[in-house]
Symmetry: C2
Subunit: 309 residues, 2 copies
Amino acid sequence: MTTALAIDLGGTKVDAALVADDGTIDEASRTRRPTGRDRSAEELADAVREAVRGALAQLPAGAELAGAGIGSAGPIDIPRGAVMPYNLTPWHGGYPLRDLVQELVPDVPVTLRIDGLCITLAEHWVGAARGADDVLGMIVSTGVGGGLILGGHTIPGPTGNAGHIGHIEVAGFDDPCTCGGSGCLEAVASGPNTVRWARERGFEGATGEDLGRAYAAGDGIAVAAVRRAGTAIGRAIASASALLDLEIVAIGGGFANVTPDLFEFIREPIAQRVNSAYVRRVRVVPSMLSGDGPLIGAAALVHRSELVG
Amino acid sequence: MTTALAIDLGGTKVDAALVADDGTIDEASRTRRPTGRDRSAEELADAVREAVRGALAQLPAGAELAGAGIGSAGPIDIPRGAVMPYNLTPWHGGYPLRDLVQELVPDVPVTLRIDGLCITLAEHWVGAARGADDVLGMIVSTGVGGGLILGGHTIPGPTGNAGHIGHIEVAGFDDPCTCGGSGCLEAVASGPNTVRWARERGFEGATGEDLGRAYAAGDGIAVAAVRRAGTAIGRAIASASALLDLEIVAIGGGFANVTPDLFEFIREPIAQRVNSAYVRRVRVVPSMLSGDGPLIGAAALVHRSELVG
């Protein structure tokens, strides 16, 4: 049994933990520190250091650490080992996170990848995509992100930002997107953007959870909003499958749970590709990961390194 | 110097030739036979056999064949070694083309891939994408196809149909597509669909060449039609780059030559992704291949087999 140090850096917090080579998190080692917009660059670095030290303190005497894996909110820059998450303004120039972690674990390899890729590795290892070689993992939440495993290997892209399905366009939509484009999936179907669309039509709730309750109660606007999001997600998946010949798409994230019906809406536009058998065969399933997916996936960068391109 | 047998199967003809390991085609060996909709399944097979035998007849005595590479119009089915090109109706159930070729060259490996992937291998080997590890090769012609090299290796997809960028959607468009979807790039920006769009607005030409001449003369409808196609192509490339973190896109095919200005229109929507540096950095360039790209790429399946996933 070997152990990996797993780190998950997000816009509001950083988590670190020790993870065994069967994907089990050592609960005693789990350490969380807040990040967020109001922190300086050095305070953010200190938050990571504290989380890492808290996790490492639980490493049993004599136990060997196999390596460290970092999953980070994007964008990232793998050649520089740097991260520049949208929500961590002081790091927008690119903070050398890999080097920071390497200083804390000088004797083992440190691998940095985007969080969407880590989540996809976790689905492939212990989740809904076990046994598949061509996988898109998706998160539909505040934003829409993802990661790719193609031909059994991860596809990070040269800068590390591949998998970002939130910024592929959807026909029939023209919502302006924060990336500068328009009609991007994230602009249409993220949780907040779906709630906003509903509110513009009279919905009075404020959150995805509110929308889910209204959907369950049969509220017409909520049903239309959820259908609209599902259609857009399905269309984007059809595009990605046409381009990549995917076997399976596993979707997690808070808004993916708005209602189980969401997956029916997602599958409809894929089924409409009647003359494209290889697109139509893609399976779209809910994530089987708990909220621990990002940490398990960061650990997979170490324990499943043979898959990591 | 080793030699490969290269075969390019298209909707109207099949080409075969011997190709050296520097990408040079043995002109004396080049053999073409017509295919097309009016032929039976067995007549199509005979056309392939005749083309292959014509090429092999030029193999010098004592020379060693390293292998055979087949590039085929899609769809294809790699696990079955079968092809089912849209324009070859008698083969729609899937014809075992790899086995047919294997019977003619029983002692060497035979590799089947889609033509878009072969063209991308050729751009990467001797064309506009030399030195890049993350490449989308595109053909804009009667249809819109393509192929992918990611992380330095080809991405065929499990069925062999990956790379088909013609069927990713473009925001702001809703043209019905033959695949069953709508707003697909091919439905908007193929040569015939662009000409059709112009004719619906009063353009009196019939071909992409006619449209190119009208564009050069400053015809307002032709300019609008070419701009519309370029915008759609650029938007689709922005989507593909967001998903795949591409370095370079090399575009060939007859309609890519409609005017050099097409590439300016293509680059505009990519530049609009102002908050996505990794998307914006993608280079979009014209193909550097002659019409021999498909044969050179089929030969690359043999001569560059270390790249072929």
